[in-house]
């Protein structure tokens, strides 16, 4: 008898609510013979509860274990990531406007102070005065003709680097900040998928 083949590709990251039942369909793409497919999709893999906290890792070995319990004589092929990260969402975040404003002004005044400290640290004022004298031959304690364009250019340079003019993009590429956020998220995912994965950690005291 020819064995039936099931192909499974775990999703990288999914979100779930508390007390939700995680079915195979939620965490993986499946290709299987038609008669098996509905049964496979409904397979219970995990029940989310309080003790899971924020992150649950479902290893592909657990999934294969569940499938072989229910369906015998199948060949299971896995493709792609070896685990799915389930992010448990407890309640909608980001509702508080006052908290947001606090952070906004924290960043605003923080970066204002930081740039002033930087200017003082590198003696920007005396360099600018000197530059004014070199070009015009006149001494001026307040070379505002240089300093105001400089200040505006400062903001523009940051926007240029991050590729955003408020909500419009200069071109289609992702900004370095978005790439950086992505890399940081991947690093975190990588960390939790090993450190929170019961399948890949075997500690001595467990035996």
């Amino acid at each position: 008898m020819l064995e039936k083949t099931i192909y499974i590709r775990m999703h990288h990251r999914v979100q779930a609510r508390n007390h939700e039942k995680i079915r195979l369909e939620d965490i993986a793409q499946i290709i299987a013979p038609e008669e098996l497919l509905p049964k496979l999709k409904e397979l219970n893999i995990h029940q989310v509860s309080e003790k899971d906290k924020n992150i649950v890792i479902i290893d592909v070995m657990v999934v294969i274990g569940v499938i072989t319990e229910v369906i015998k004589n199948v060949d299971i092929q896995t493709v792609g990531p070896a685990q799915t990260i389930i992010e448990v969402i407890y309640k909608k975040k980001g509702g508080s406007i006052s908290f947001f404003l606090l952070i906004w002004f924290l960043l605003f005044f923080g970066s204002a102070m930081a740039i002033m400290n930087f200017h003082d640290d590198v003696s920007m004022q005396s360099v600018q005065e000197k530059l004014y004298t070199i070009i015009t031959g006149v001494r001026d304690q307040k070379p505002l003709l240089f300093q105001i364009p400089y200040s505006l250019g400062l903001g523009f340079g940051m926007i240029l680097f991050f590729n955003h003019i408020f909500k419009k993009r200069i071109n289609e590429e992702p900004s370095p900040l978005e790439v950086e956020m992505f890399n940081y998220q991947m690093d975190l995912d990588n960390y939790v998928s090993i450190h929170e994965n019961k399948e890949s950690m075997k500690k001595l005291d467990e035996h």
């Binding site: 980001g94 908290f99 947001f100 952070i103 906004w104 002004f105 960043l107 605003f108 005044f109 923080g110 970066s111 204002a112 102070m113 930081a114 740039i115 002033m116 930087f118 200017h119 004022q125 000197k130 530059l131 004298t133 070199i134 070009i135 015009t136 031959g137 006149v138 304690q141 307040k142 070379p143 505002l144 003709l145 240089f146 300093q147 105001i148 364009p149 400089y150 200040s151 505006l152 250019g153 400062l154 903001g155 523009f156 340079g157 940051m158 926007i159 240029l160 680097f161 991050f162 955003h164 200069i170 071109n171 590429e173 370095p176 900040l177 978005e178 950086e180 956020m181 890399n183 940081y184």
Partner: protein, 140 residues
């Protein structure tokens, strides 16, 4: 006498070499030139950009060491100011990015979605701080 001169020249060249290497390495780490070529799609012109940096640095050295007086119109300072500002702004942006400050901060405060708004807080804060300093702060 001539030995002293040779020693001074040697020390001058070596300190210049060290500072020049440091300057270029700093620019390279922050990746401002690649970022600009990527935005303007002018990868082929990268050698010209290298020379722009080198010539600019040498011009700056001449201006700060020789104290020339050109006696030109002060309005030339407006484009100079803008380009200086953009350059320093890109430096500041690249520096925060290298240090990975923003991704961690956004994650901690749980506001990954409001990236642009929070970024604008930083940008406007820099503009405000800078103008405040030049117009008011330094004369008090």
């Amino acid at each position: 006498m001539s030995i002293k001169t040779i020693v001074v020249i040697f020390i001058g060249i070596s300190s210049g070499l060290a500072v020049g290497c440091g300057f270029v390495a700093f620019l390279a780490v922050l990746g401002i030139i690649p970022r600009l070529t990527q935005l303007s799609k002018t990868m082929k012109m990268i050698h010209w950009y290298e020379w722009a940096v080198v010539i600019g640095a040498i011009t700056g050295v001449l201006a700060s060491l020789r104290d020339p007086v050109l006696g030109l119109t002060p309005y030339i300072l407006i484009p100079l100011g803008i380009t200086d500002g953009i350059f320093v702004g890109m430096l500041a942006a690249a520096l925060t990015e290298v240090l990975n400050v923003l991704p961690i901060l956004m994650k901690r405060v749980g506001m990954d979605g409001k990236l642009i708004t929070l970024l604008m807080a930083i940008v406007l804060g820099k503009i405000f701080g800078s103008i405040f300093q030049w117009v008011y702060f330094i004369h008090h």
